[in-house]
C-alpha cells in the first residue's frame, strides 16, 4: 500500500459532496468505492472512517439520507445533496481551487522571475 495518501477530515467532506453531486443519491459503500476509483487507488480510505463524516454532514444539513433499494435489490441507506450542500460544495471547491493555485505558485519553479 506504500504510496497511498491519508485523507483528512475537511477534504473527505469535500470529496463526499463532490461524489454525491456527480453521481446523485448513493449509499456509503458506493461513495467509498467511487472515491477509491476516482483517486486511481491512490487513496487509502478505511471505509469505516467515511461514516462519521457522512453523519457530520447530515447533522450540518448538507446532505440528507433515506432508505432505498440497491441495484441488487438490497436495502441500503442513500445519501443525497441538499440545497445547502450544493452551495457548500461550490464554496469549498472555490476555496480549494484558490488554495491549490496559491500552493502551485509556490511550488512551481522559476515563475517568480517572470
Amino acid at each position: 500500500m506504500g504510496e497511498r495518501a491519508d485523507v483528512w477530515q475537511g477534504t473527505l467532506a469535500l470529496m463526499v459532496l463532490k461524489t454525491l453531486q456527480a453521481l446523485g443519491p448513493l449509499h456509503g459503500y458506493g461513495i467509498a468505492r467511487r472515491m477509491e476509483q476516482t483517486s486511481g487507488h491512490l487513496l487509502a480510505v478505511n471505509y469505516g472512517t467515511l461514516y462519521p463524516a457522512l453523519l457530520k454532514l447530515e447533522q450540518e444539513g448538507y446532505i440528507s439520507s433515506e432508505w432505498g433499494a440497491s441495484d441488487n435489490n438490497r436495502k441500503a441507506k442513500y445519501y443525497k445533496l441538499t440545497r445547502a450542500g450544493r452551495k457548500q460544495l461550490d464554496k469549498e471547491a472555490r476555496e480549494w481551487e484558490q488554495t491549490t493555485e496559491i500552493l502551485a505558485r509556490f511550488l512551481a519553479p522559476g515563475k517568480e522571475s517572470a
Binding site: G48, Y51, P52, S70
Partner: protein, 885 residues
C-alpha cells in the same frame, strides 16, 4: 450557524436511541454485504471475501463506536452511562464503597468543620462598617512591662491627629450590680465614648446612641442595654427608652437597645450594658485619678498603619513636656502600637487554627491515599474487563473517563455525607471550642464553607481517582486477554506504585502523630503542674459591695465577718477562705512597695506587686504550704495590725541573701506605715498552670476590707451540693447583694486549661485517625502482595520453603515500607513541629521521647499489620494455589 444546527440536531439524537442503533447495524450490514458481493464477483473465495470486506471497513464494532461518538451528545450520554455503570460497580462492592465513603465523609466533614471556625475567625470580615480601616491603638510601657493608654494620651491623640477619621475609647469594663429588675444580678458593663458606636458603624436597634455631653465629666447617667439583657430582664419592653435602671445603687436612664448580633470589639469583654465613658475634654495629667482607656480608631482612606503609628508616637512624645515628674520616669521608652483591629482580635489564635487545619488536611490526604490504593487494587483485578472494553473499541480517554467518574461518584457521596458530619462537628465545636474562637462571631456553615467543602471534594476525587485511572487506562490488551488469571502480571508495576503510596501515607501519619504526641505530652505536663493549692472540694462564690452603700471599711468588715460566721457554721463545711482575688479569677490588686532600709526610689520606678487581702483561714482552706514563720491568726484581724506574708518568689527575689521574717515593707505612698513580714508561703500559680508564679504578698483583709471579695469554701463532699445554701447565707446578710462566680475550684482549673485541652483533644483524635488509616493502608498493600503471589508461595511451599522463610519474605516487604515511611515522616515532623512551639508547655518541639514513642507505636502497629497477611501466606495450600491457575 451550521455548527449550531449540528448541536441542536445532536441534542435531538439523544432520544430514540434504539431505532438509531438498529439503523446503524442495518447500514453496516448492507455495506458489508455489498462489499462481499463485489468481492465474490471479482472471484475471491467466500471466506476471504468477507475477511477482506471487514478489514477494509476497519471492524464493525469500531466503526459503530466512532459513529456513536459522533452522534448525539456523547459527553452527556457517556457521562450518564459512566455514572450508571460506576454506581453498579460500587453496589457490587459494598464493603469497599462503604469504607471509602465513610473515610471521605469523616475527612471532608472534619476539614469543613475546622474550616468553619477558620472562616469565622480569620476569613470573615468583622461585623462593622468598612472594618479594614479600624485599628487598635496601644502604648507599651517598658518600665511597667505593661500595655496601657491613660486617658490624657487618648485625648491628646483624639484632639491633634490628622490621619484618623475618628478615634474612640472605652474602659476595661467592670461588673456592676443590677437591682430593681427581678433578682439582683451582677452584670458586665463597659463604658464607651460617645462616638464608639459611630466609629464601628453600629446603630442601636432601639432608641439612640450616646450624646457627646453624656460622655463628659458630670454628664447625665444613661445606659444602652444589650439585646440579651433587654429580652431577659425587661421582657423586650418596646418602650424601654427613658425608663430607669439601678446599677450599683445609682439610677441610669435607658436610651436604647443594641442590635441582637452586636459583638463588642474586644474578646475579653462581653458587656450586657454600655455606659457613657465620662472623660475630661482636655489633656490633663494633674487630675486626681486617671482612667485607663482602650482605643479604637478609624484611619482615613489611604493612611497606612505605619503612618498612623508614627503620628501618634510623635504626639505621645510631645505629651512628655507637660506631665508630672512621676510620669516622666514611668514613660521611659514608651512605644505606641497601631494594629489592625482584626489582627488584634485574632492574631494570637491564628497559629492554633492553622495548625489544626493543617493536621486535619493531612488526615484527609491520608484517607485519599488509602482509597487510591484500594482503587488501584480493584482496577488491577479489573484489567481483564478493561482489556475487553479496549478491544471492542473503547479509546483510552473513554476508559479514563469511566474510571474517573467512578472516583468522582465516591468523592461526591463522601462530600455529601461529609457535610452532615460537618454539621455535627460545628455543633460540637460551638459547645466545646474555647471562647477565644467563639467570641469573634457565630460559627456557621455559610457559602464560603460550602465552597470549601465542594473544593476539597473535587480535590480528593482528583487525588485518589487520577493515579489508579491513569495506571489502569492503558491495559495491555493482548497480554490481559491471553492470561486466564484474574490478577495480571502487570500488578507488579502497580505494586511499586502502591508501596510508594503507602510510604507517603505512613510519612504523613507520622507528622500528625508527632504533632498530637507533642500536644498530649505538653497537656499532661500542664495538668500535672502543682498550682500551689488544693483544688479538690472547694466551692467558690464572689460578691461585690457597692461603695455607695458600704462606704466605711468597718461596714464592709462587718458584712464579711457575718458571712464568714454563717458559712463556716454550715454542715459539711470545714473551713472558709476570704480573699480579694482567688487564683484563676484574673482579679488582682497591684500596689507599689518599698523595703525598709533600702534607698528610696523616685516615683514611677518603684517595684510593684499584687497584694491579696485574705482572712486568717485562707492558707489552711486552700492548703497553701507554709514555708517559714506563721500564717495570719485572729489577732491579726484588728485593723491596726500591720503584718504581711510573702510568697516564695517574692522572698527569693527581694530578700535573696537574708531571712525576710521580721523585716518590714510598706505599700503605697512614702508616708504610709510599715508592715512586718511574719511568714513565707509556697507559690501559687495565680493566672493559670502555664504561667510561672510571680511575686505576691498577702495582708489581712481586716485592715482594709476589699469591696469585691471571693469566698472559697472547703467542703467534706461534692462542693456543688453546697452552692445554693452558701449563696443563701450571703443573701441573708444583705438581700440586695448579688452573688456571682459560683463555681468549684476544680472547674476553674479545668476552664483554665480549656484551650490546650481543646487543641489536644482534636489533634489527638486526628492522630488516632491517621494511625488507623495508615496502618490499614500497610495491611491492605501487604495482603494484596500476598494475594498476588499466592501462586509463587504455593510453589515455594511445595518445594520446601519453611514457614519462617515465607513470613520473612512478606515481612521484609512490610518492614522496608514502614522504615521508609517512618524515616520520611520523622524528618518531615522534625522540620514542621517548630510551628507548634506556641502551643507547647514545658516541652521542646523536637522532644526526643515523643519522636521515639511515635516511631515505636507506628512501627509496632505497622509490623502487626504485615504479620497478619504474612501468617496467611504460610497457610497457603500448595495444591490449591497451583490449581487456581
Amino acid at each position: 450557524m451550521r455548527r449550531v444546527r449540528g448541536w441542536v440536531f445532536r441534542l435531538g439524537e439523544l432520544f430514540g436511541k434504539e431505532q438509531r442503533e438498529r439503523e446503524l447495524a442495518a447500514e453496516m450490514e448492507s455495506h458489508l454485504q455489498m462489499h462481499i458481493e463485489d468481492n465474490l464477483r471479482a472471484g475471491i473465495a467466500p471466506e476471504q471475501a468477507r475477511r477482506e470486506a471487514l478489514m477494509k471497513l476497519g471492524g464493525i464494532e469500531q466503526t459503530k463506536e466512532m459513529i456513536r461518538e459522533r452522534r448525539g451528545l456523547p459527553m452527556i450520554e457517556v457521562f450518564l452511562q459512566d455514572l450508571y455503570f460506576g454506581a453498579r460497580m460500587l453496589r457490587k462492592n459494598p464493603g469497599f464503597s462503604a469504607i471509602a465513603v465513610m473515610t471521605l465523609a469523616l475527612g471532608i466533614g472534619a476539614n469543613t468543620a475546622i474550616f468553619s471556625v477558620v472562616n469565622t475567625v480569620l476569613v470573615r470580615p468583622l461585623p462593622y462598617r468598612d472594618p479594614g480601616k479600624l485599628v487598635w491603638v496601644d502604648e507599651y510601657w517598658p518600665r511597667m512591662n505593661d500595655d496601657m493608654v491613660p486617658n490624657p494620651d487618648y485625648t491628646k491623640w483624639n484632639l491633634h491627629n490628622h490621619h484618623f477619621e475618628e478615634m474612640a475609647a472605652y474602659d476595661g469594663g467592670s461588673q456592676v450590680n443590677l437591682t430593681g429588675a427581678g433578682e439582683p444580678e451582677r452584670i458586665e458593663s463597659v463604658s464607651v465614648t460617645a462616638n464608639l458606636l459611630h466609629v464601628l458603624g453600629v446603630k442601636p436597634s432601639l432608641g439612640r446612641s450616646f450624646l457627646t455631653e453624656e460622655a463628659q465629666l458630670g454628664g447625665r447617667r444613661v445606659a444602652l442595654l444589650s439585646y440579651g439583657l433587654w429580652k431577659r430582664k425587661f421582657g423586650g419592653d418596646p418602650n424601654i427608652s427613658g425608663k430607669a435602671v439601678t446599677l450599683n445603687k445609682e439610677s441610669y436612664t435607658v436610651i436604647g437597645v443594641m442590635p441582637p448580633d452586636f459583638r463588642f470589639p474586644d474578646r475579653r469583654a462581653n458587656p450586657q450594658i454600655l455606659l457613657a465613658f465620662q472623660l475630661p475634654p482636655k489633656v490633663d495629667w494633674t487630675a486626681k485619678s486617671l482612667a485607663l482607656t482602650q482605643v479604637i480608631g478609624r484611619v482615613k482612606p489611604g493612611v497606612t498603619l505605619t503612618q498612623a503609628n508614627a503620628e501618634l508616637a510623635a504626639l505621645s512624645q510631645q505629651t512628655n513636656a507637660d506631665i508630672p515628674a512621676m510620669f516622666i520616669h514611668m514613660r521611659d521608652g514608651l512605644q505606641v502600637h497601631v494594629t489592625g483591629l482584626h489582627e488584634k482580635l485574632v492574631g494570637d489564635v491564628r497559629p492554633t487554627l492553622l495548625i489544626l487545619l493543617a493536621a486535619v488536611a493531612f488526615v484527609l490526604l491520608i484517607g485519599c491515599v488509602n482509597i487510591a490504593n484500594v482503587q488501584l487494587a480493584r482496577t488491577a483485578s479489573r484489567q481483564k474487563e478493561l482489556a475487553v472494553r479496549a478491544a471492542i473499541g473503547a479509546g483510552r480517554g473513554r476508559l479514563l473517563r469511566q474510571l474517573l467518574t467512578e472516583g468522582a461518584l465516591i468523592a461526591a457521596s463522601g462530600g455529601v455525607a461529609g457535610l452532615l458530619v460537618a454539621a455535627g462537628g460545628v455543633r460540637l465545636l460551638r459547645a466545646y471550642a474555647p471562647t477565644s474562637f467563639l467570641q469573634i462571631g457565630p460559627i456557621t456553615i455559610d457559602t464560603w464553607v460550602l465552597f470549601f467543602a465542594f473544593g476539597i471534594t473535587c480535590l480528593t476525587a482528583m487525588v485518589f481517582g487520577t493515579v489508579p485511572a491513569l495506571r489502569a487506562s492503558k491495559p495491555d490488551v493482548i497480554a490481559n486477554l491471553k492470561e486466564g488469571r484474574v490478577v495480571s502480571e502487570g500488578g507488579y508495576g502497580q505494586h511499586r506504585l502502591r508501596s510508594v503510596l503507602v510510604i507517603s501515607e505512613l510519612a504523613l501519619a507520622v507528622v500528625v502523630l508527632v504533632a498530637s504526641g507533642l500536644l498530649i505530652r505538653s497537656f499532661l505536663r500542664l495538668s500535672n503542674v502543682d498550682p500551689g493549692f488544693d483544688s479538690n472540694n472547694l466551692l467558690t462564690v464572689s460578691t461585690a459591695l457597692p461603695e455607695t452603700k458600704y462606704v466605711a471599711p468597718a461596714q464592709r468588715r462587718a458584712f464579711f465577718e457575718e458571712v464568714l460566721q454563717r458559712v463556716s457554721k454550715l454542715p459539711g463545711v470545714r473551713s472558709v477562705a476570704l480573699t480579694s482575688s482567688l487564683p484563676l479569677t484574673n482579679y488582682a490588686q497591684i500596689d507599689v512597695f518599698a523595703i525598709e532600709g533600702e534607698p528610696n526610689k523616685p516615683a514611677g520606678t518603684r517595684p510593684m506587686t499584687p497584694v491579696e487581702h485574705v482572712n486568717p483561714g485562707y492558707f489552711r482552706t486552700l492548703r497553701i504550704a507554709l514555708l517559714e514563720g506563721r500564717v495570719f491568726d485572729d489577732t491579726d484581724s484588728r485593723p491596726e495590725t500591720r503584718v504581711v506574708i510573702l510568697n516564695k518568689v517574692f522572698a527569693q527575689r527581694f530578700f535573696p541573701n537574708d531571712d525576710p521574717i521580721g523585716k518590714r515593707i510598706r505599700f503605697g505612698p512614702t508616708e504610709s506605715p510599715w508592715s512586718t513580714i511574719v511568714g513565707v508561703v509556697g507559690n501559687v500559680r495565680h493566672t493559670g498552670p502555664d504561667r510561672e508564679a510571680e511575686p505576691q504578698v498577702y495582708v489581712p483583709y481586716a485592715g482594709n476590707p476589699p469591696s469585691t471579695a471571693m469566698l472559697a469554701v472547703r467542703t467534706d463532699s461534692d462542693p456543688r451540693n453546697l452552692a445554693a445554701v452558701v449563696r443563701d447565707q450571703v443573701t441573708a446578710v444583705d438581700t440586695e447583694q448579688p452573688v456571682f462566680g459560683v463555681s468549684t475550684m476544680e472547674q476553674r482549673v479545668l476552664d483554665s486549661l480549656s484551650g490546650p485541652r481543646f487543641n489536644t483533644t482534636l489533634l489527638g483524635f486526628f492522630g488516632f485517625v491517621a494511625l488507623v488509616l495508615a496502618v490499614g493502608g500497610v495491611y491492605g498493600v501487604v495482603a494484596y502482595f500476598v494475594a498476588l503471589r499466592t501462586h509463587e508461595f504455593g510453589i515455594r511451599v511445595a518445594l520446601g520453603a519453611s514457614q519462617r522463610n515465607v513470613v520473612g519474605m512478606v515481612m521484609t516487604q512490610g518492614i522496608a515500607m514502614t522504615a521508609a515511611g517512618l524515616g520520611l515522616g520523622l524528618g518531615g515532623a522534625f522540620a514542621l513541629t517548630r510551628y507548634l512551639s506556641t502551643l507547647l508547655y514545658g516541652i521542646r518541639p523536637t522532644d526526643p521521647i515523643t519522636f521515639a514513642g511515635v516511631a515505636l507505636i507506628l512501627a509496632g502497629a505497622a509490623l502487626l499489620a504485615c504479620y497478619i497477611p504474612a501468617r496467611h501466606a504460610t497457610r497457603i495450600d500448595p495444591m490449591v494455589a497451583l490449581r487456581c491457575e
